[in-house]
Symmetry: C2
């Protein structure tokens, strides 16, 4: 049986690597490096830096996997994602069979934490469901959520309170904030479209990287600034990854 | 100004330490080791292992801080916690002033991630609010939530869906599960008191440690087993730390 290590590498660079992630890197015979196109070249470069810095044997083998673009979402988001995953799965299957012996061990370097809004795990589950004899092991990594709160110097939860991690799409459907929310995968600047009364935002882009940007304040006061900074940064670099926490004024509950 | 590093050490042992956490350990002149009593001696021992393994200078200085027991919760949970934090803050203030020069740098080794259900950050905020000249820096650590999902081989969120991190107390107030929930700080086995229909539970105790226990299944079918195993383990070791994910059967939404 082939074994795949899903190694969480953290959100922004080699310093987020854990001891067990470094050990896992060194257990793998082949490192698989998904490539999502030109805008993500910088992210691939960080993955390559991590391999060079932490893999003990100098001649480690890496294989780039070209990831197809996702089609624009139709009315059915899950169906769109499902089609996209099917294409990626077909590519993974070929690459795993070509690059690894039957009992070989490979690794994917996964941005952030493999359990949070990453599709690698689901794609391996799909290959297993299709009958492929592949096992996996997950090595947790620091998520962007954790770097966001660390950099802003705040706790994720208030005392004894809940916090919800969600997407821009879900926030748009909610329309307002009734609990503390961390929002990820929001390319549509949904924070600017919701009722801002009594909401504080803690926003961060390129978290943990050299270009990190942080803005915090009352949403009504900083929303326009975040939009401006976000667009300028995306324009300048060609891509952006950002996340934010929305917190209602403490009502004493 | 005194500077305090809040270093997330992960939930269960040295292998969860990140490169930046190890660097931070070595920047600190003094390591502060909170001690919550006999039942947590094992956790203190893990912190000491981490210091011995990762701190380069052999004569590093550590200071144990005795943490008072929290009073049993009254009708007002936040007030109880607030009183308790006030006591801890007074102790921290004395220890920081005694152990660190005015411009010194100390570190707390925080279980899991300093942003998630940990009070160290809040206590330092309290000291600052009281006028103490102290800065802090947060070094994120792997949280028990992440080890829980990694060990069960599952994603934290479903595709495009939200997930809420909450407490046993909040779950008891909800009474039922309407979204995916991670439950922490649940000494009352609240999972056994809610409507179990269509719920799958992924439970873990001592996550990341040698004694780790994992149980997953339909809540109605494994609830009694988890209660039994949980009580036996707590009896045998004298303490337990556990967490779980509750997931409703996929309704296709």
């Amino acid at each position: 049986m082939r074994k795949i290590l899903l190694i969480g590498i953290g959100p922004g660079g080699p310093d987020f690597m854990t001891v067990q992630a470094i050990d896992a890197l060194n257990r793998a015979q082949v490192l698989f490096l998904p490539d999502k196109g030109a805008e993500k070249a910088e992210l691939r470069e960080i993955r390559e830096q991590i391999c060079r810095r932490f893999i003990a044997k100098p001649d480690y083998r890496s294989v780039t996997i070209e990831i197809p673009q996702r089609a624009a979402a139709t009315h059915d988001y899950r169906e769109t994602v499902d089609d996209w995953h099917a294409q990626i799965a077909a590519r993974y299957r070929r690459v795993l069979i070509d690059a690894l012996p039957d009992d070989g061990c490979g690794a994917f370097l996964v941005w952030g934490d493999p359990a949070l809004y990453d599709s690698t795990l689901r794609i391996l589950d799909r290959l297993r469901a299709e009958g492929m004899d592949v096992a996996y092991e997950i090595i947790p990594g620091i998520s962007a959520v954790q770097v966001l709160t660390a950099r802003h110097g705040i706790a994720l939860n208030r005392i004894g309170e809940s916090v919800t991690i969600t997407t821009g799409r879900k926030l748009a459907a909610m329309g307002k904030v009734t609990e503390d929310l961390v929002v990820m995968l929001d390319g549509d600047e949904t924070f600017a479209k919701i009722d801002a009364a009594d909401i504080t935002i803690y926003w961060g882009a390129y978290l943990g990287m050299a270009d990190e940007i942080l803005i915090a304040g009352k949403l009504a006061e900083v929303s326009a600034e975040i939009q401006r900074v976000r667009r300028e940064a995306r324009e300048a670099k060609g891509w952006i990854m950002d996340a934010y926490l929305l917190r209602r004024a403490d009502d004493g509950s």
